[in-house]
């Protein structure tokens, strides 16, 4: 069935790209090079920065696990889930990006559990589906983190 794909938040990640090209999108200050994710489009938040232009920038494809956990119980709204369907736990992972020197949260790809994500192991960002409205024929897209078999950062 054809689906209209809608990003859960517009402008946070690339759309209509192949999996290899999929990236999170942040903004980088032209003055101090600080990166902001979620994107900051107003002013650079570095208090010592005289202020520069905030330019959209793709974040690193790969990073290392800072920590992870899972959600064994259904989160409350506005998380979208069907109360009529048994809850399937998902994994949440915090990923350290070396080039940006920051940590970014995300859900792990479906089927990836905490045991697959030891602290320090390499993961990469891939496109994912957050929720689906079959009646409306729409899906909300998001980003997922997935272990990298080879384990290389680049």
């Amino acid at each position: 069935m054809p689906h209209t794909r809608i990003p859960v938040v517009a402008g946070w990640f690339t759309e209509d790209t192949a999996e290899e090209e999929f990236r999170l999108l942040g903004t980088r200050c032209s003055g101090c090079r600080s990166v902001h994710f979620p994107r900051e489009d107003g002013h650079c938040r570095n208090p010592g920065c005289p202020g520069g232009e905030l330019e959209e920038v793709p974040l690193s494809k790969r990073g290392t696990v800072w920590s992870c956990t899972d959600g064994r119980y259904r989160p409350p709204p506005p998380y979208v889930s069907d109360p009529g369907v048994p809850w399937v736990p998902y994994t949440l992972v915090a990923v350290e990006l070396a080039a940006e020197r920051m940590v970014v949260l995300g859900q792990a790809a479906p089927g990836v559990g905490v045991d697959d994500l030891p602290v320090g192991s390499v993961v990469e960002v891939v496109p994912g589906v957050l929720d689906e409205d079959r009646a409306a024929g729409t899906v909300h897209t998001t980003w997922n983190w997935r272990p990298v078999a080879a384990g290389a950062l680049s």
Binding site: V9, S34, R45, T69, L92, M102, V103, V104, L105, Q107
Partner: protein, 396 residues
């Protein structure tokens, strides 16, 4: 250093799930604190209410709501909100008014009637609210963040789920002796291990519940206390309400990403440790001077982190302290002898006030079975969503 303010009275409405509104709990706590202080409500020159987001409009105007419930008498009013740190902000507001000579006697009140289960953001489609976004995009509940911190400790320091369970066992033993606590039964390590996993590696009994409750303090100038014949009152010597410094490199609720440390080298000290440090500096004391501490044990693992952040031990040594019994009643530096959040559950705007109530009773030597012998100096520590630090130093 700033001047001291006196704690004339402390009072609570017991924590639990009572099914009434927050005003009832706040009013009961306020009356208990006024009785304890021997102060009539008409003598109060200012009332400061710590707000709750769950009471609808009255919750957002908590100061006046409590004043109305107690009977309008014209006092100056303030309402403050800083999530879990709301109570400390209310105390600090009262302190500033007293030290500035704006009021002699200030009533501080916080109360909540919390829903069961996970805290959730305010309703509506609010895409400019980071708290709404973390639920919508990630389903990241508060325990999810606690789980991330706990696993990080396991990887970095070798903490185990058994270490975390020891915190619950310790706090439940203390809470069993506290009439204001919601949970008053001892808990065993086996019971913790048998409880359901909520956010791996944390189990239900590792994570604090959400509760109803109310706490209040009557604060005054030290001179006023002396005029009332209280020669040696418990005194609040410092209140820390610091924010983080850029770049903040640890994910805090409700962050989806940390700051980037590309441009500025991060502080070697964490935000949480800066909260206590500011309080110590203002009070002119250090962790070695403490008789006891009340810290915000949203999870068992987080209590261990607080040990390190308030300077009871070095980084990574928190689990060793609890294993040795150093932080239990009778240990070198008892922590959460009230029973902590483990025994109370969280009634958000009341909680930081409740921590100071416990210090007050301990420093007066009136804490009964859970008394820390000879208590002279105590600290509370807490952190409110989004970057609200809070710590209070009280002395006698």
């Amino acid at each position: 250093m700033t001047g001291d303010v006196a704690v004339l009275g402390a009072g609570m409405h017991p924590w639990g799930k009572w099914g009434r509104g927050f005003v009832t709990y706040g009013q009961a706590a306020a009356r208990a604190a006024l009785d304890d202080a021997g102060i009539g409500w008409p003598e109060v020159g200012s009332v400061v209410g710590a707000q709750t987001v769950r009471g609808g409009y009255p919750g957002y105007v908590a100061g006046a709501t409590f004043a109305r419930a107690l009977g309008w008498q014209g006092a100056r009013v303030t309402s403050v909100y800083a999530a879990c740190a709301s109570g400390a902000q209310a105390i600090n507001t009262a302190r500033a008014q007293i030290l500035a000579g704006m009021a002699d006697v200030v009533l501080v009140v916080g109360a909540d009637a919390a829903p069961k289960g996970f805290f959730a953001p305010a309703g509506g489609e609010r895409r400019d609210d980071p708290d709404w976004l973390r639920f919508r995009v990630l389903g990241a509940t508060n325990p999810a963040y606690f789980g991330l911190y706990a696993r990080r400790r396991m990887a970095l320091y070798g903490d185990t789920p058994e270490d975390f369970a020891l915190v619950k066992v310790k706090n439940a033993a203390a809470g069993a002796m506290n009439a204001n606590a919601r949970y008053r039964k001892p808990v065993t390590a086996e019971e913790v291990a048998a409880s359901a996993v909520v956010a791996d590696p944390l189990r239900l009994l590792d994570i604090c519940a959400t509760s109803d409750g109310g706490a209040a303090l009557v604060l005054s100038s030290v001179e006023f206390a002396r005029r009332r014949g209280v020669a040696d009152p418990v005194r609040i010597r410092a209140v820390s309400t610091v924010t983080p410094t850029f770049p903040r490199t640890v994910l805090d609720l409700p962050d989806i990403g940390t700051d980037s440390a590309v441009a500025v080298e991060p502080s070697p000290k964490s935000f949480r440790s800066s909260i206590a440090r500011a309080a110590y500096e203002e009070a002119g004391i250090g962790p070695e001077d403490l008789s006891l501490a009340e810290v915000y044990d949203l999870s068992t693992a987080l209590e261990l982190e607080w040990y390190e952040d308030i300077g009871l031990c070095g980084a990574g040594e928190g689990a060793k302290l609890v294993r040795e019994g150093a932080t239990a009643l009778g240990g070198r530096i008892p922590v959460n002898v009230s029973g902590g959040l483990a025994s109370f559950g969280e009634a958000v705007p009341a909680q930081a006030i409740a921590q100071v109530c416990e210090l007050t009773w301990q420093l007066r030597g009136r804490a009964g079975e859970r008394q820390v012998p000879g208590a002279r100096v105590g600290i509370t520590a807490n952190q409110g969503l989004f970057g609200h630090g809070s710590a209070v130093v009280a002395v006698r």
